[in-house]
Every structure is written in structure tokens, then in C-alpha cells.
Symmetry: C2
Subunit: 223 residues, 2 copies
């Protein structure tokens, strides 16, 4: 019998990696057995995850892993641009040398991983490490922003974004060619150039939206 929060974290982790299939049913009885707890406990946790947007709930029909949705991915990208560029600018204003240091550190780790992957050094195993490192970099970017509401919102969006992106067959074309972009973001942030940071965060996140129908209001602003 594991603690409720442990189970929540474990399920969240699975839902943001490619453990489950999109659209797969999450049956309380199965999870109950695996986690050695009661069905009601599982139900509570699934409700929480549903509010986080990581599982889909239908009355009398149970819980499912959300379907893949290109539209949703575009919307999530849009939200990330909105929240991360705002959070980054606020961090530039509010964060001191400590923030700069941790951002540099996060970038260094990420950069190191990216070089190893680029050199095709055992990519399959490095991919998970890369995703965690990428998450850490982007979280650190906004970490000095004083608004915990913004940071919380961002973490919700980020988790859903990952969930949409995490099918194995999509992983690789997402990772490619990020070294320069992450470098550029770091550079602009350390230079405390707010407009440039906004633009580079935008360009980085929007890199896979080319040719998409939905227009972002922030796109034209960032020219």
C-alpha cells in the first residue's frame, strides 16, 4: 500500500512519458491491483489528474489517456510561448546573480547532453535524460519570476505538452537542432535583453508550428 501522493506522482510520470498509449483506458481495477490500494483511492487520483488535463474523464465511462491532438499541441505551444516569455522577462527583472548561475548550470547540462545525442552516442538511452534536462532549463528560465501562479500554470501546460509529444515516434524530430536555440535564449537572458529574450523563446517554441493554420497573436508582435 503506497501513499496517495506517491501514486499520483508515479501516474503523472507515466502519463508524460510514453508508458501508455493515447486513448488507452485507465481502469481503476487494474491500477488498484498494481498499486495495492482501493479503487476509490485510484479514482481520487485520476480525478486530480483529470483536472490537471492529463487524463480524460467521461461520466459513467471512466478514465482514458487523452487522444493525440495536433490542435491541442498548437494551443499548448501557444500557451507556453505566452507564459514562458512573460516568466522569463520577469525573471530577468527579479532574479539576481543566483538565477543567472542556475540558468547557466541548467544550460550547461542540457548542452552537454545535446552534444552527446548529436554525436549519435547511444541516443535511445539519452532521450529521457534530455527531456528532463530540457524541462529543467525551461523551468529555471522562469524560476526567478515571483508569480507562483504563473509558474504553476506553466507546469500544468508543460506536462500536457509533454504528454502530447511523447509518443516514441515523435521524440526524435523534436530534439533535433536545439543547441543553438537554447544558447541564444541563455545569451539574451544573461544580457537582460527583454525583447530579444521574448523573441528567442518564441522562435524556439514555435519551431514546429511552421505551416500550421492557427495564428498566434504573439507571433506578429515578436516579428
Amino acid at each position: 500500500m503506497e501513499s496517495e501522493n506517491k501514486i499520483y506522482q508515479e501516474l503523472k510520470k507515466r502519463l508524460t512519458t510514453d508508458t501508455y498509449d493515447h486513448g488507452q483506458k485507465l481502469r481503476a481495477e487494474v491500477l488498484r491491483e498494481e498499486f495495492e490500494c482501493s479503487a476509490s483511492t485510484v479514482r481520487e487520483i485520476l480525478f486530480r489528474l483529470a483536472s490537471d488535463g492529463l487524463v480524460h474523464f467521461l461520466d459513467q465511462k471512466g478514465f482514458r489517456v487523452p487522444e493525440l491532438s495536433p490542435t491541442k499541441l498548437i494551443e499548448l505551444t501557444h500557451m507556453r510561448i505566452l507564459l514562458e516569455s512573460e516568466g522569463a522577462v520577469l525573471s530577468i527583472r527579479q532574479g539576481g546573480v543566483g538565477w543567472e548561475a542556475s540558468l547557466t548550470a541548467a544550460h550547461h547540462k542540457l548542452s552537454h547532453l545535446e552534444k552527446r545525442i548529436h554525436a549519435r552516442e547511444d541516443p535511445t538511452e539519452l532521450v529521457d535524460l534530455w527531456f528532463n534536462s530540457e524541462k529543467e532549463f525551461h523551468q529555471t528560465l522562469i524560476s526567478a519570476c515571483s508569480s507562483s501562479t504563473l509558474k504553476h500554470m506553466h507546469s500544468l501546460i508543460y506536462a500536457q505538452f509533454r504528454q502530447q509529444l511523447m509518443k516514441a515516434d515523435r521524440k526524435f524530430d523534436f530534439i533535433s537542432n536545439n543547441i543553438k536555440q537554447h544558447n541564444d535564449i541563455l545569451e539574451a537572458a544573461l544580457a537582460a535583453d527583454e525583447a530579444l529574450t521574448r523573441k528567442r523563446v518564441h522562435d524556439h517554441l514555435a519551431r514546429h508550428l511552421t505551416g500550421q493554420t492557427a495564428t498566434l497573436a504573439s507571433e506578429s508582435d515578436a516579428e
Copy 2:
């Protein structure tokens, strides 16, 4: 025995009006009795509301109405500015004459109420109507934006904002002098002036933030 969703809606309504005190304990047993359902059902609903940010949950210590927090209110205002100005601009681009019509309609109803309140016509009873009408106007403003993710996020933020603001003693000084500002927003939106709409949404929402410590990045952008 009421349906689970009914109870959820009713509780949500109470939490965003001044039914409960801030910090008040929400005991499952009490709610169970009132809504004539089981404690587990109440628990499920309270977990959902906790993820919505409308109740505060502490492990082994139950559920509470969140405390009043000036900081939180500032952060929520900040998020509203971010989401609403973006949503409004997208609506200007994506909404057609139907959107313009419904925005005009929402404004007309709100405007009518504001005039009655301004004339001190039975204010206490009109206040609740005003808040609903105000909500409708702001929701309509972003309604033509295609991103349901943005709209969902906004509705979460708006509900928390209302909850922070809804103590009876704060209601009145929040309502005062909005006629012109709502007018200005409508005008800019109908003129499809994106920059002006952004600025007016910002000024309107930030009207109670004067002298506050936290700086908004969007503030300097909107000059």
C-alpha cells in the same frame, strides 16, 4: 441524492461568492449531510475543486477555503491581463460579425446594470447581477479565440480572482467607475485595434494594482 456535477457546480458557485469565510474548514461530514451523498463523493468533488485552485487541501488535515492573499490577487490580475489581452486580440482576428454582436450585447447588459448601480438603485441586490454580467462581458471578449486551452485557463484564473475579491466588504470599491473602461474596451475591440485593445484591457484590469510592489512585464510593454 444530487448528481455529482450538480454538487460540484453548487460548491463552485458558493466558493466564488461570499457564502463561506476565507480559511473556513470544509468538513466532508457536514457537506455530506447537506448534499445527501456519501463522504467519498464529497471528497472527490473537493479534490477537483482543489485542482481548480478554489479549495486548499492539506494531507491528513482536510480541505479549507483559501485564505485571502493580496499577493495572490496581484498574481491573478497579472494572469488575467496576460490571458485576456491575448484572447481579445485573437478574437479580433478570428471572430466575425457574430462575435462583435455578442460582445455588443454583453456590453449593453453590463452597461445598463452599471448605470442602475451608479444611480444607487438598490445596490445590494444588483451587485450579484453585476458580477455575473461582468464575467459574461470578459468571457465574451475572448470567446472567439480558437484556443479552448486559453479559454479554459482563463476560466480557472477568473474563478480564483472572483474568490479572492468576493468578500462583501470589498465588493463595492471594485465595481466603482467601470462604465468608461468597459466602453473603451468595446470600442477598441470593434475597431479591431489590437494594440489599443491590449492597452485598455491592461489598464482596466490593473486599475486596482496602483502602488503595488509587484511589477508586471506587460505593464511596460503597454506603455
